[in-house]
Structure formats: structure tokens, C-alpha cells
């Protein structure tokens, strides 16, 4: 795969050992060296090439030889391989090798391409869509994929008795009927703007009805049967998952003979495996990017996550129940400095509580928002606002800032702590476990907390999940839950008509198909929320994926669900 090095000089050793040492220290504090905290949502990404790669030529294409094993890496093991029950974001991406969906996003993410579906949905009325299916698609057990399988897969998740964690994502669907052998009819409860987006994700992966019924859910999760380009072969727990080529894949015969996903928890070790030829793809840790660039055999791409990270104020108690105090906090920090201290080059500033990429693709007025709601650091202004709020003489308590033990989060907390001290406010930064963090968000036992959410490429992924009033959900909330982990604590303290109207807007936006109308709704919601300063919004993340140049016709991207064998590529290992 890559060049093997035999020469070793002291300077290089010291340089890299320093880097590794840094990584190790980061690992100690749960930073980039360790597993990053998954905070929910279906993570989607956009990508930027980091150069160094060579394009596949026609001549190389002609060198394709069947077979070869592609070895990828991941940090976490899968708990189930049943898409109906899975909740882990990386497993959802991986399951696209085994299972197909009705639609796929195009590589630029701008449209949905029919995949198992023969064409775009035919709309009968506001809530009825007919989707014709391709004929001749077979599952790995040889059974033909029909509308019965589509209806079964979706209806199974909608059945409350099955307790599928995906039910909430599909709740807009009433039922799916097999209206013909190759035709599925979707009856929605209400018009839903994200209909095709959901159908293109693994939350709506199509399983073999006969295999699922025969095996039962638990066994199906350990020995799944789909129709994807690769069939499940073996799962060695905490070690690897093996897939074998589906010779009868309906799109084309995959070039690769096998796919192996190795579970390697430490990103530094993933990188060494990539550089030394042990694997074909790995995440490159931030402090090893320079080293990776010097590797001849590695291509890299910077991939933006559609996520949002920041600091949330507990507006349910003093002093952050006062909007002037929350506004003052915005003047305490230098947004660029805080970004640099957390993700450095691997991050982009967020506006309107959404990633910059969402702002750009929806053409939101993020530049105006930047001017209006993200002021330059100004301690005098901060002091003045604090004085107006009645805290001119300081505060009678030490603020409690909580953070997960991860450098990206902890540095945000530490920066705020230092700036607070400069204006005479004492604060403690306390590291918490994930369990403590979730409990604190539920109980409201904090003053400032870190917040992270992976919401996807649609504003709904942020506004519906972070800023709706949960008390208005069907079934409501339990009495012992205060914040219920949404970022919208203000609903419980400032129960104004204005906020209830925003809640309605957020709910209405996902039921509105007209994009321009939706955009206006999200601008309204964003401006209302930003004027209340519930958070210090900081950044959306980026990660660097590296892969071996020996892998041809392979290009990881933001929207391509699995880049090895799909409508646009058929990867192979160059001999």
C-alpha cells in the first residue's frame, strides 16, 4: 500500500514523539486523542479536498481486477446491525453497504436520486405518495425485494410494540402499503418537508421481510440480510466486521471482493495503521495532519460535520435568567479565539445555532446575524450590561460551568471562566461524565454547560430538536424532567406568547414543503432565539479522513452514504 520506511532519524522521532505525546495528553483529557462524544442526531458531513491526491485515469480504470479487500476503520463497535434498531451514527453509515434505501442523496447533496425506487415519488395528495420500485432487486438470501419488504420495514418500526428507536424519525408516516408488487404507497399523517431526506437515510433501510421474521429481531441484528453491494459475513465483537461481495447487486457487480471494518479505538493508532499499510482508510487526528501530508501514499479530505457546539446558559436560575447577563457573556469572549482553542483549523464558526454550511446552502442572512448577535470582545460593554442587570458589584456566588472531559468542550469552558474572572466573576469548571452531563441537563443543576448536537443538513435538525417546547409534544414530559436536554430552557422561565409562537413556527416548518416559506420561518425562529442569547454558539466540527492511494474510484464525501459501490463509483484496490 504505502511506502515502507526503514530510515529513522532522531529529529523525526522527537518531532513525532512530541506530536504523539500531545495526542496522548489530549487522550488523557478525553480530547482528540480519545473517542469524541456522540451527542445524538444523524451526523452528515461536507467535504473539502486537502490536496495531494491523483485522479484516476482511464488507463488505471482498465487495470481493475476483481477481488481485493478494502479495510476501513472505526472507533466504536456496533451493538446491532439491524437498521431498524441501530442508533449509532457510524453504524448507520456502514449499514449502507448491507442495506439499500429508496433514495440516495447525490454526491453534492443537492438532490435525491432514485435508488431502490424507480423514480421520484408520485404525489397523490398532500399526504399520499406512491413510489414505484425497481424490478429484479434481490436480497442476499436470494429473495426478490418487493413492495411487501418496503412496507414491512417501515411499518415494523412504526409499531410501538417493537420499540424501535427510529420510530420518532418516522413518526410523520401513518402507514406504508404495498399497493402493487413493485409499488409502495406512503400515507403520511401530515405533509412533511423532509420526506425524501428521511427515506434516503438508514433510518428507513429496507430489510428482507422473510429473513427478519424467520430470525427474529435479535438474531437479525447479529446476522442481517439486506440487498446492498456487500453481504454480511462475520462480526468479531470489538475487533472487526467482514462483508463479502454481493455478486448479484442490482446496480453492478462490485469490484471489491470483501470489505472489512476494523474497530480501532485510538485515532493515532488508526493513522499508524493507514500509514503502515494495515488499513485503507482512517481518521487523521488534528495533530498528525502535517505528518500525513508528508506520506506519499495517502490522500486526505477535510470533512465538515453538520453539527453545532457551544455553551448553554441555565436561564432557569440566577444570574442567567436575565437576558442582559446572557448578552453580556457574548461580549466576554472572542469567538475566533474560542474556536482556535477548541478545534483550531478543524472547525467553522456557527451562526444562528446552525453550521455555516447549512447557513450557506439555505442562504440565511448569517452575515447580518454575525454583525448583530456575535459582537467583538468588549469587557466594558459586558460590565455595563451586568450593571444594568443588577450585577455591577459582582455576584454573590461562584458560577458552576460543567464540561465533558474532552478538550474541545473543556477549552470553551476554561476560556469563559478566565474572561469572567477579568470582570470580577468567579466560576469553577467541573468535568462531568456523559451520565452526569445528561442528568444536569435534565435537572437544571448547572449555571453554564457545554452543548453539542449533530443535526444534519436541514435547519429542522437543529431547530426542531433543540428549540421546540417539549411540553407541547404528544405525551408531554415527565414532571421530574426540567430541561429534558433541549437547549430551549427559556420556555420554562419566559413562557411568553412570543416563544410559543416560535414553537409553532418550528413545528410548522417541517410540515411545509415550500422551501422559500420554510426559509422565512427558520429566519424568524433564528432571530427570535438569537436575540435571547440562550447560548454562546461556537463551532461546527470538521474531521480529516485519509485513505490509501491504492484505492481507486473511491472518494468519501459529505453526502455519499457509502463510497465503495454506488451509482457514481465502484472502488477497487490497484494491484
Amino acid at each position: 500500500m504505502t511506502d515502507k520506511r526503514t530510515n529513522f532519524d532522531r529529529r523525526r522521532f522527537l518531532a513525532t514523539s512530541g506530536l504523539l505525546g500531545g495526542s496522548v495528553l489530549a487522550g488523557c483529557t478525553g480530547g482528540d486523542g480519545g473517542q469524541e462524544t456522540t451527542t445524538g442526531g444523524a451526523g452528515t458531513t461536507t467535504a473539502e479536498s486537502m490536496g495531494g491526491g491523483t485522479e484516476t485515469t482511464e488507463e488505471q480504470q482498465q487495470n481493475v481486477q476483481g477481488g481485493g479487500t478494502f479495510i476501513g476503520t472505526t472507533a466504536e463497535d456496533a451493538t446491532t446491525l439491524d437498521p431498524r434498531m441501530n442508533e449509532l451514527a457510524w453504524v448507520n453509515g456502514f449499514l449502507h453497504y448491507i442495506f439499500d434505501t429508496l433514495y440516495l442523496p447525490s454526491p453534492d447533496g443537492k438532490k435525491f436520486v432514485p435508488h431502490l425506487a424507480k423514480e421520484q415519488p408520485k404525489q397523490q395528495d398532500d399526504t399520499t405518495f406512491v413510489i414505484p420500485l425497481k424490478e429484479g432487486v434481490t436480497f442476499h438470501n436470494g429473495d426478490e425485494l418487493t413492495a411487501e419488504d418496503v412496507a414491512y420495514s417501515i411499518n415494523w418500526m412504526l409499531d410501538p410494540a417493537n420499540k424501535s428507536p427510529n420510530k420518532a424519525n418516522l413518526d410523520f408516516i401513518d402507514t406504508v402499503e404495498a399497493s402493487g408488487k413493485y409499488e409502495a404507497t406512503f400515507n403520511l399523517k401530515y405533509p412533511f418537508a423532509l420526506f425524501q431526506l428521511v427515506l434516503s437515510g438508514m433510518n428507513a433501510g429496507i430489510v428482507s421481510k422473510s429473513a427478519a421474521e424467520q430470525k427474529g429481531q435479535k438474531k437479525f441484528g447479529q446476522d442481517p440480510v439486506g440487498s446492498g453491494p456487500f453481504a454480511f459475513d462475520k462480526h468479531v465483537s470489538s475487533s472487526h466486521i467482514d462483508l463479502a461481495r454481493n455478486e448479484d447487486y442490482f446496480l453492478k457487480k462490485p469490484n471489491l471482493g470483501k470489505v472489512r471494518m476494523r474497530i480501532i479505538p485510538k485515532p493515532q493508532v488508526q493513522f499508524v495503521e493507514l500509514a503502515s499499510g494495515g488499513v485503507h482508510q482512517a481518521t487523521v487526528p488534528k495533530n498528525l495532519i502535517g505528518k500525513a501530508k508528508s506520506e506519499q501514499g495517502i490522500k486526505m479530505k477535510r470533512i465538515s460535520h453538520f453539527d453545532y457546539n457551544g455553551l448553554i446558559f441555565n436561564s432557569m436560575r440566577k444570574p442567567f435568567d436575565n437576558v442582559k447577563v446572557r448578552e453580556a457573556m457574548q461580549y466576554l469572549v472572542d469567538y475566533d479565539e474560542i474556536l482556535k482553542a477548541t478545534k483550531g483549523q478543524l472547525g467553522k464558526r456557527s451562526y444562528g445555532f446552525m453550521p455555516k454550511d447549512v447557513n450557506k446552502s439555505w442562504e440565511f442572512p448569517w452575515k447580518e446575524w454575525k454583525e448583530k448577535y456575535y459582537p467583538a470582545k468588549d469587557h466594558q460593554k459586558a460590565k455595563q450590561l451586568l450593571k444594568e442587570a443588577g450585577y455591577g458589584g459582582g455576584m454573590d456566588k461562584t458560577l458552576k460551568i460543567s464540561s465533558l472531559a474532552s478538550s474541545k468542550f473543556k477549552n470553551m469552558a476554561i476560556i469563559l471562566q478566565k474572561e469572567l474572572k477579568k470582570v470580577g466573576i468567579e466560576a469553577n469548571v467541573r468535568e462531568v461524565t456523559i451520565g452526569q452531563w445528561l442528568t444536569e441537563l435534565d435537572s437544571g443543576e448547572f449555571d453554564v454547560n457545554i452543548y453539542g448536537w449533530s443535526g444534519g443538513q436541514d435547519p429542522d435538525g437543529f431547530y426542531y430538536y433543540l428549540f421546540r417546547d417539549l411540553r407541547n409534544d404528544e405525551g408531554g414530559m415527565n414532571d421530574d424532567v426540567v430541561g429534558n436536554a433541549t437547549a430551549a430552557y427559556l420556555y420554562q422561565t419566559q413562557d411568553s406568547d412570543k416563544l410559543q409562537k416560535v414553537d409553532e413556527t418550528i413545528r410548522q416548518a417541517r410540515r411545509t414543503n415550500d422551501r422559500a416559506e420554510r426559509k422565512k420561518m427558520y429566519i424568524d425562529a433564528a432571530e427570535t432565539w438569537q436575540s435571547l442569547y440562550p447560548h454562546i454558539p461556537v463551532f461546527s466540527e470538521q474531521a480529516v479522513t485519509g485513505w490509501s492511494k491504492d484505492v481507486k474510484d473511491y472518494e468519501p464525501s459529505a453526502f455519499t452514504q457509502q463510497p465503495l459501490c454506488n451509482e457514481w463509483s465502484n472502488a477497487y484496490i490497484q494491484k
Binding site: F8, S238, N484
Partner: protein, 316 residues
């Protein structure tokens, strides 16, 4: 007291200790802030689903009832189900036992003779260059954290020299050569601190013995130094070492958690680490009990060896 009766008495003493370990672990995992249902469901959970899971796993029951239920299952050798993986804990542990046993066993097999050899050598060369070097190496071994040493070894031998794999595990039964290649770096990482600790203990014990009158007498009688060292001083120095050797098992268990994570070895240490992160009660309690049994067996064997070597122990 005969060795036979002593053995029975010591074995029976394990039962209340195990009950204590279980009780303590049970109370501690339940005292952790947060609950596994929330961690499993993440942010924005469906309240109905959370309620359902809480009910299904009995988390809505009073703690004393959960404790008694768990104890009853335990008496039937049922360690319960992993909340995160939805699989029996016993099965998960059995799957991962092989790599951990191989890793720990081989580390010990290498650490023990190396430490004894270096310790005796160092004591024999007391305050000479060889002793200084051995002590320095021992100190370095003790002060080097496992995770740093592991990553540095990976960088050197997998990245720079590219002669050994950086991670993964192959069963010695399937492919002994590949297994050996995969195990070299993890074993060095795990064995280094063990070797250093045992070496320093051996050295201290030997230095003490060599300063005793009987050694002087033996020398005065003109016995060869090698014989004094190995047949007389070393045998007596072994007594305190036997205790330490048994107790070192617990350090190996600690080390395996880190080493398995760094080298991506699918062993019990990693299972425990992930269990702890996710507050997977079944996995944490199951592994603690398993490790307690293993540790107590090590201590028991040590005590029996001690009682065998020094019969006075049986009458204490």
C-alpha cells in the same frame, strides 16, 4: 493446623469477600450520577421509550429489590444482560476471555523470570555500575505510563520500522506466527511495569538477605558466591516476593484495560472500559465479580504457597 484444613478455611473465606465485592460494586454503580437509559437514548429521548426501558430493566424498582434480584440470579450463575448490547454478559465475557488471558498470561510469564534475573543480578552487583543501570531501568519502567509506552512502541515498530502490526489480535491457535507478531508490542507494554516492580522488590529482598549474618558465615566457610546467592539468599528472599507476585495480578488487570484499548485487542479490559463509560451495570458488575474471583484465586494460591513454604503461617 494441617495444610488441608488451612486450604479449606482459606477457600471458604472467599465467599463473604465475594459477596462484599458484589455489594460494593452494586452500590457504587448505582450511586454513579446519571442512568444507563439516558446514556443509551442520548439527548432528546422519547419519554415513552425511556419509561419502557426503565421498566423492562427493573430500574423503577427499589434498589434493595434490584439488589436481591441480581443476587438471586448471580447464585444461579446468571450475570444478567448487557443493557447496551442486549446480550448476556456471560457470553460477552466468554468471547473476550481468550485475548485477555493470553495477553496477561504471556506478560506475566515474561515479566517474572526477567524481574527475578535482573533483581538478583542487581543485588549481587550492589552499588556497582550494573546495579545502577538496573535500578535506573527499573525506575524508568515504573514511571512510564502504559498508554504512552504503547503509543511510542507503535510509532517506532509499526510506523518507523514497519516491522510489527500496530493493532489487532490473532488467536495463537489459529496462526501462531501472526499471533506472536500482534502480541509483541502489547506484551512489552503490559510487562514493563510488572517487570520493574518485581525487579525492585527482588533486589531489595536480596540485598537484605545478603547483608545477614548467615551469608557472612557462609562466605567465611568458603562457599562459592553463586551458591550463596542462589541456594541460600534467593530462597529466603523469595518469601516476601511470593506475596507480591500474587498481588501483582490486580495491576495486570488494570493495565490490560489500557493496553487492550491502545492495541485494539478485543478483550475483557475493553469490554469493561466501554461498560463503565456507558454505565452498563450488567457488564461492570459481571466483570468485577470475574476479576475478583481471579484475584482472590491468585491471593489464595499465594497464601497456600506461603503456608507451604513457611508452616508457621498456618498457626497464625
Amino acid at each position: 493446623m494441617s495444610l488441608y484444613r488451612y486450604t479449606i478455611r482459606r477457600t471458604l473465606q472467599i465467599i463473604p469477600v465475594l459477596l462484599g465485592v458484589f455489594t460494593l460494586t452494586f452500590v457504587m454503580v448505582h450511586a454513579l450520577p446519571g442512568n444507563p437509559v439516558r446514556i443509551y437514548l442520548g439527548l432528546n429521548p422519547s419519554q415513552a421509550l425511556a419509561d419502557e426501558l426503565i421498566k423492562r430493566y427493573g430500574f423503577d424498582q427499589p434498589l434493595w429489590k434490584q439488589y436481591l434480584d441480581y443476587l438471586w440470579r448471580l447464585l444461579q450463575f446468571d450475570l444478567g444482560e448487557s443493557f447496551m448490547r442486549k446480550r448476556p454478559v456471560t457470553g460477552l465475557m466468554l468471547e473476550r476471555m481468550g485475548p485477555t488471558v493470553v495477553l496477561m498470561g504471556l506478560s506475566y510469564v515474561i515479566a517474572l523470570p526477567t524481574a527475578l534475573l535482573l533483581g538478583v543480578y542487581s543485588a549481587a552487583k550492589h552499588n556497582e555500575l550494573g546495579d545502577h543501570v538496573s535500578r535506573f531501568v527499573g525506575l524508568a519502567g515504573l514511571s512510564t505510563p502504559n498508554f504512552w509506552l504503547g503509543l511510542m512502541l507503535i510509532f517506532l515498530f509499526a510506523y518507523e520500522f514497519n516491522v510489527l502490526p500496530a493493532s489487532g489480535y490473532v488467536s495463537p491457535l489459529k496462526d501462531p506466527v501472526a499471533a506472536a507478531k500482534h502480541l509483541v508490542l502489547p506484551i512489552i507494554t503490559l510487562a514493563t511495569a510488572q517487570t520493574a516492580t518485581l525487579m525492585r522488590m527482588t533486589r531489595s529482598s536480596m540485598v537484605e538477605e545478603l547483608s545477614k549474618d548467615y551469608v557472612e558465615t557462609a562466605r567465611a566457610y568458603g562457599l562459592p558466591e553463586r551458591r550463596i546467592l542462589l541456594r541460600h539468599a534467593f530462597r529466603n528472599a523469595l518469601l516476601p516476593l511470593v506475596t507480591i507476585i500474587g498481588l501483582q495480578l490486580s495491576f495486570l488487570l488494570d493495565g490490560s484495560v489500557i493496553v487492550e484499548s491502545i492495541f485494539a485487542i478485543p478483550g475483557m479490559g475493553r469490554l469493561g472500559y466501554n461498560g463503565l463509560l456507558n454505565q452498563d451495570y450488567g457488564v461492570i458488575i459481571g466483570l468485577n465479580i470475574f476479576f475478583a474471583v481471579l484475584f482472590l484465586t491468585g491471593v489464595l494460591l499465594t497464601d497456600l504457597a506461603y503456608a507451604y513454604i513457611d508452616p508457621r503461617i498456618r498457626y497464625d
